[in-house]
Amino acid sequence: MAHVATDRIEPFDVVVVGAGVVGSAVARLLSHYDLTIALVEAGPDVGTGTSKANTAILHTGFDAPPGSVEARLVARGYALLRDYAPTVGISIEQTGAVLVAWDDEQASTLTTLRNKAQANGYMSAEIIDPVEVYALESHLGPGVTGGMVVPDEHLIDPWSTPIAFATEAVANGCVLLTNAQVVACDSGDEITMLHIVDGRRIAARFVVNAAGLHGDTLHRMFGLDGYTIRPRRGELIVFDKLARPLLQRTILPVPTAHTKGVLVAPTVFGNVMLGPTADDIDDRTATGSTRDGLDGLLAKGRRIIPALIDEEVTAVYAGLRAATEHSDYQVSDDAALRYVGLGGIRSTGLTASMALAEEALARLQSIGLTVVDRETIVSIGLQPLGEATLRPYQTGGRIVCHCERVTADEITAACAAAVPARDFDGLRRRTRALAGRCQGFYCLAEVCALTGWPVDR
């Protein structure tokens, strides 16, 4: 990873603030042009904020509010990411989804939802009766009153996505700075000076705000206003791989204005995910799980797929979505400040990321950035982590993490990558080591020995 050890007063053409899935996608796209780019991240790694804990679904956008920025960018991002993912080793799987109604009121909204899907340009959603729902998903609990099939919903590896974007950006000359929280900025006539938490400074001609949960803070540093982030906490329970045969596709609830609701979905890694909750909270760092949240999820899960609750839990996550007082994304630009803001991006940001990058580029150009194609664009490839493709252990590697069948070579490679794992969380996201059912009972000591890291790294 390239580092800027001291002040860099020579300005970057564009500094992207926030290396979540959105910021990394922006940096990747900009790196295809003859520009100097920096991707500046407050956390220790790429994808450690909102991008870290989501439902790992590539959405068609069938249920987005028609005419919204979100609807447009999700639909566009869906197509872009679906095509891009297989070329760089991001695992995706087209399982489709079935949206399930559990009472008459919910059943009566299915037609509205289908019409909404069609208004969004998605024509393949189909309403089915309860008998057909149970024929598709035989383990659903009693009481289904109707359903709607959405055959084009995909599962995606949510952790490899920002890592792939950032890796490609770095391969094409982008400078990635981690542990580099922006604490202040001075906007001059031609140069914006960003002040980093440890006293470093970084100069930019143009700034893209992809700061996720802290997007409004950065927005205000530029003297702008218009939205305030109130984090929405989502807790997720990941069940053991032995639960995977209980469902064929993603089981969606009927969404409300507040949230898409609690879904049950397979993951590309072969687990089953239940969640998320939706709690509006004030603390932007409160990524802990709660008793009420977990109990509530289990109660909902028991209704959706009763047998799921008998299976072992492998992991519990809680993440914060960058919700605002507005229902739509807060995308803006300011020519005088040479600033593009990508704010209020909630759970659909993973799907929309590549479209948000296009949006950012278009807005940068509209406020004066000129871009010239780079002569050669370096392509990258990650080791796919999904179960649907061949994994290294199947061709003879020495397995260290038995639950997820991660080989020693994969762990070593992740630590030596262009955007390397620097701690156990980073290693989990890049290889799945320690992310399995034993949570380190068998392999923690061996992984410590391989990486040379202390146990609390």
């Binding site: 032995l242 799980s289 289990l298 156990f424 034993c438 009972f441 146990v455 609390d456």
Partner: protein
């Protein structure tokens, strides 16, 4: 029909698997292969660095690591083929599939995949997800095999035998134990062990509480208990709460005990899948290593009988139990069971609600192995008649 022409694969090279393999070779079975996924065979005792092993099977007292290597030696000298760093991904009555797709044919398969402790996530303990949260198994390996510092001040979740073993491991690694926490009214180990810790190390046991929350962003800072108390610590060790490594058993479709989550077995360790046997802590989570080794010795003649054309039992079901008994399973020396609470009473076996035998009154302790040597007739149900 000649045993010398037959092949048996044992999945798992811990005490039960190694002992089964050695005994089967000594019984004349031609080829016995133990498949072990770790670098070294020996199982959990490899990193259980204290005395108390080998008592019932080898009739002596050894440390865990010495016991593990002794079992490996015995198997090797019996002509057992040992494949280490080799992972089995699927099992049937006619062989196994390895991680690289290689199929090995066998005339019978013995599952001896062992047991692990439920980690924090599986227990749904809320809170932050900082570093410093372990199981006994991981801290034993970190300290015994890799000489790593685990932490400075720990809270141990659980107060059964293994919890006290975890305390000893932590102490050897320079980590003090701030407290033990159990949801039960009392500790569940031997009084003498508890006395030793109470007087020498002054470790308080918080009873009838659970961990309500783990606090700490990067490293554990404290745990909050369900009674509202807060204990400052940098380490939390989740002990016991055993879950068998049953994934291969379930993937091959053996009937399961819903409570212990072990494959159901007959008294001769047959699962519901013809040709597939299951032994050790996979079927009774968890017993001491020497009893697992005895399972291995006892399964050998069962396997030989099957290889010589013996019949497979028609129906293999878990032993039926009534609360407060949580589960019961066959072992090499009878039946072992667990109870959910501290209770005094008499154990009774009934067939069609008619008592077959009733034991003398005794005191039962949860999370502690309760062994019965009386025969439990097929179809019997075990219950506990309360009363002093």
């Amino acid at each position: 029909m000649n045993l010398a022409d037959r092949t048996v694969i044992v999945v798992g090279g811990g005490p039960s698997g190694l002992s089964a393999a050695a005994t089967m070779r000594n019984a004349g079975i031609g080829r016995v292969v133990v498949v072990e996924r770790e670098r070294q065979a020996g199982g959990i005792p490899r990193h259980t660095d204290h005395l108390g092993f080998a008592i019932r099977d080898l009739r002596r007292v050894m440390s865990g690591p010495r016991y593990a290597s002794r079992l490996v030696d015995i198997a090797a000298r019996s002509g057992v083929e040992l494949l280490t760093e080799t992972t089995v991904t699927d099992v049937s009555g006619t062989g196994v599939t390895l991680a690289d797709g290689t199929a090995i044919h066998a005339d019978s398969v013995v599952l001896a995949t062992g047991v692990r402790e439920r980690p924090r996530a599986a227990r749904l303990v809320p809170g932050d997800r900082p570093a410093g949260v372990f199981t006994t198994g991981s801290i034993q390996q970190l300290t015994a095999l890799h000489h790593r510092q685990v932490g400075r001040r720990a809270v141990i979740v659980g107060a059964e035998h293994v919890s006290f073993s975890a305390m000893s491991t932590l102490r050897h690694g320079g980590c003090e134990t701030a407290a033990m926490v159990t949801s039960l009214p009392r500790h569940q180990t031997y009084a003498v062990l508890r006395m030793a810790t109470a007087t020498r190390y002054r470790v308080p046991i918080h009873t009838e509480v659970d961990v309500a929350e783990i606090v700490g962003r990067r490293r554990v800072e404290a745990v909050i208990l369900t009674d509202g108390s807060r204990i400052t610590c940098d380490t939390v060790v989740f002990t016991g709460d055993w879950i068998p490594d049953h994934e291969l058993a379930r993937r091959c479709g053996t009937g399961m005990d819903r409570v212990s989550r072990s494959p159901a077995i007959s008294a001769s360790f047959e699962t519901s899948r013809p040709g597939v046997f299951a032994i050790g802590n996979l079927v009774h989570p968890a017993e001491t290593a020497d009893l697992c080794a005895l399972d291995g010795r006892v399964v050998a003649p069962s396997v030989a009988r099957w290889l010589m054309g013996g019949l497979w039992p028609h129906a293999v079901a878990p032993l039926a139990v009534e609360p407060p008994i949580v589960w019961a399973a066959p072992t090499a020396v009878g039946v072992t069971l667990r109870v959910a609470e501290f209770v005094t009473g008499r154990l009774q076996a009934s067939v069609n609600e008619t008592p077959v035998w009733t034991q003398r009154r005794q005191r039962f302790v949860p999370n502690r192995a309760i062994h019965i040597s009386q025969t439990v007739p097929v179809g019997a149900s075990l219950s506990l008649v309360r009363g002093r």
